[in-house]
């Protein structure tokens, strides 16, 4: 490694968004030709942002990029591709009705706009490419009829067809079955033997251990370090990925949790693409406790919460609220039965941005007797009073009750949602990413409030990609990975490294084994 010339160098990359968020804080990255480099980190660490900059989709606020010895400034992905850099995203950009062949040659058909596409010629070239690399893709089937793993290969071929020699893959195994993952790894090894360089973004420890040559770990917009995979252990990587110095714990009086309010039994839920997102999950949330679900996003948390809150029908299993079966019931029924839901998407689900604060304050409450003058007619006077109450109680900063809710800041919007949900006087509060994108003061307020609810005897189900938050607030926590809990533990009974390992796919029972090597 000593005198190899890097193929890509990123120096001092800083990325600050227009709203002030600092996504990257001076990142240095070195990539050597012919290697598979893993880029490891939690949600929001900055790995995708960094790669989007390398691929020309985002401009860095400052910093240098050197590709193959030349300093470059990419204006668009096309520039990156012309320098030999390609990227396969988590969400595919394929034209579903086209077959693989046409998806691959789109934009690079090879000759004039008005002349016939040489389908045979393209087929021959692609076939040769596929034979050389030893992976096949049916070329004349509309891609919408192909399994997800094969679609991903089409995306990879799209880049290879454009002669990229540096391929960036963003969380490529997120949508694959275990068999497809193995097939993908075979492809990557073959590409490597052909001299291609691969950057593999992931949060999955075992996969990173298996396929990469070196691993660079990023946390909160900074590089923590780079190690040779051969010399690393999952424990070491986990510590780098997640390592905390101090976890500020909120004062929680010890509470004897009461009876189970929410019971989930052997729940199976399918995602939008028909994949198994939740696989036989069972757990319960009791009165007077906060049950936290930790884990990197995309491991089934969204689908789990949707099935509990009536927004998605589960395949199999039971959900019980206060001893009543609520499996598959509608949100309205659930609200009437004592559930409240702080959704993970505040701007696209929790609030209707174009409506006023008052209107949003009764969203999910509009048919309650208190807000009806007579059946079916809304009593806006009472609604306005309600909105004012919420504003006062939660110290929300708003221009007025009739202001459109989009004029509130993110933190205040979130406080409004929390205030509203709490005003439903629920027995169970489901809180999903409750402080994402929220300012520090509001974050503290919301977290303290959740603890208050727990102290009052409510049941709180918390889902968060922010590990700190889960550790601070939970009495018990489940670490979710690929639709299952790797372990259900009390935060004080495990170390940070163990949690990191579970987040990376190692079960609690196997933690001992992974500690050695």
């Amino acid at each position: 490694m000593g005198d190899r010339q890097p193929i890509v160098e990123m120096k001092g990359i800083v990325k600050v968004y227009s709203d002030g968020t600092r996504a990257l804080n001076g990142v240095d990255l070195t990539v050597y030709p012919g290697e598979i480099l893993g880029l490891l980190g939690e949600n929001g660490a900055g790995k995708t942002t960094l790669m989007k900059i390398l691929f020309g989709m985002l401009k860095p606020t400052s910093g240098k990029i050197i590709v193959k010895g030349e300093e470059v400034q990419f204006k668009s992905p096309l520039d990156a591709i012309s320098m030999g850099i390609g990227m396969v995203h988590q969400h595919f950009t394929l034209v579903e009705v086209f077959d693989a062949l046409h998806n691959i040659i789109l934009g690079m058909e090879g000759h004039g706009l008005f002349s016939k596409i040489d389908v045979e010629g393209a087929k021959k070239r692609l076939q040769k490419l596929m034979d050389d690399l030893n992976f096949q893709v049916p070329l004349d089937v509309p891609v919408e009829n192909l399994p997800v793993g094969v679609q991903q290969r089409v995306e990879i071929l799209k880049m290879l067809y454009r002669n990229v020699d540096i391929l960036i893959l963003d969380e490529p195994t997120a949508v694959l079955t275990p068999i497809e993952v193995e097939e993908l790894f075979q492809v990557l090894r073959k590409l490597k033997s052909e001299g291609k360089t691969i950057i593999f973004i992931s949060h999955k420890l075992n996969e990173v251990m298996e396929i990469t040559d070196r691993v660079t770990v990023i946390r909160k917009g900074q590089v923590i370090g780079t190690v040779n995979t051969k010399e690393a252990t999952p424990q070491l990587l986990a510590k780098m990925m997640v390592g905390r110095d101090v976890v500020l714990r909120i004062e929680k009086p010890p509470k004897e949790p009461g009876k189970p309010i929410l019971q989930v039994k052997n729940l199976w839920v399918k995602g939008d693409r028909g994949e198994e997102s939740v696989k036989g999950l069972s757990f319960e949330v009791r009165e007077g406790e906060i049950f936290g679900i930790a884990g990197v996003e995309g491991n089934g948390q969204t689908e789990l919460i949707e099935s509990i809150t009536g927004l998605r029908k589960p395949e199999k299993g039971e959900i019980i609220l206060n001893d009543r079966d609520i499996t598959g019931r509608s949100p309205k029924e659930l609200y009437d039965m004592g559930m409240a839901h702080i959704p993970e998407d505040r701007t696209n689900m929790g609030l209707i941005l174009d409506m006023t604060v008052t209107e949003n304050s009764i969203l999910g409450l509009q048919w309650r007797e208190k807000f009806q003058r007579f059946k079916g007619v809304i009593y806006w006077g009472k609604a306005r009073e309600h909105a004012k109450e919420l504003i006062e109680r939660f110290d929300i900063s708003a221009p007025g009750t009739e202001a459109p809710v989009k004029s509130l800041s993110g933190g205040n919007q979130q406080k409004l949602i929390v205030a509203r949900e709490v005003s439903k006087e629920p027995v169970l509060i489901v809180a999903s990413q409750p402080t994402r994108g929220v300012d520090v003061a509001s974050t503290e307020y919301i977290r303290n409030y959740l603890v208050k609810l727990r102290n009052e005897g409510k049941a709180v189900l918390l889902v968060s990609a922010d590990l700190d938050e889960v550790l601070q607030l939970s009495d018990r926590m489940g670490i979710m990975y690929e639709g299952e809990f790797m372990g259900v533990v009390r935060p004080e009974e495990v170390t940070i490294e163990e949690i990191g390992m579970m987040m990376g796919g190692i079960r609690y029972e196997e933690l001992g084994k992974a500690r050695g090597r």
Partner: protein, 295 residues
Amino acid sequence: MDVGAIIFLLKTSLMAMVPIVLTSVGAAWSERAGVVSIGYEGVILASAFFGAIFAEISGHASIGLLGGLFVGALFGMLHGFLTVYLKGDHVIPGIGINLLAAGLVPFGIIAYWGTAGQHTLPFTLWHIQIGHNEFSPMIFVTIAIAIVTWWLLFKTPLGLRVRACGENPEAADALGINVEKYRFWSTVYGHALAGLAGAYMSVDWLGLVHKTMSGGRGFIALANMVFSNWNPLVSLIGGWLFGFFDALATWLAPKHIVPEQFIYMLPYIMTLVIVAGIIGKARPPKADGKPYKRE
């Protein structure tokens, strides 16, 4: 039914299919790129009027056809500007264009020719004689345009990119295709063909300009477009079918077998049935009618 009647029906349906096929082909191309318009009715009417003026001023009917094409293209640019660049709603400008034409044409007829509601052209396009019947060259032009458009759409890079813009503009954008440019010029093309259709009606087929002469053909063309699953070649067949029903109804009317209105209804019922997926599956381009904004 004697031979004469059959020939009459066939001939009338061929003449009648021209404006419908041309407009459907244009509309299909535009929607394949992702731009919806319901203003073709107005474009047909307006370009029938302007085409006639061009023809009379120049002394040649064919100049009238070109004039119609040109006027149609102008409307296409207006629509394209509103929908593609200003990211406005796709349906509302069409409503405005229809209304505008409905007013502009009768106004223009009086203002320009001094006659109320209708004006007959002193000459029309030359026709080809075959036996006792004459056929307009526009029939063949129409067939050619349908075939060429189909070929461009499905066999060339141009068509591939246009279709990508209509199905998944993000994918096209990521590969360096300028979605806005393709969408804009596609809707110009679509409206230009509708303009040609209108000019054909005044300068060729009917030889007159009448304030309601578009007669719903702009909407029939939209029905044909859906019915033909956004395929220009199939539009030829569908357009002929619509023209056939039109001719059939005219022929049947004096015989009072079935009320003519029920025959006129058929194409629309057929389209509804198809689009409801009861028979076959007509599926619009995925990003049809959605303004594309780059993230």
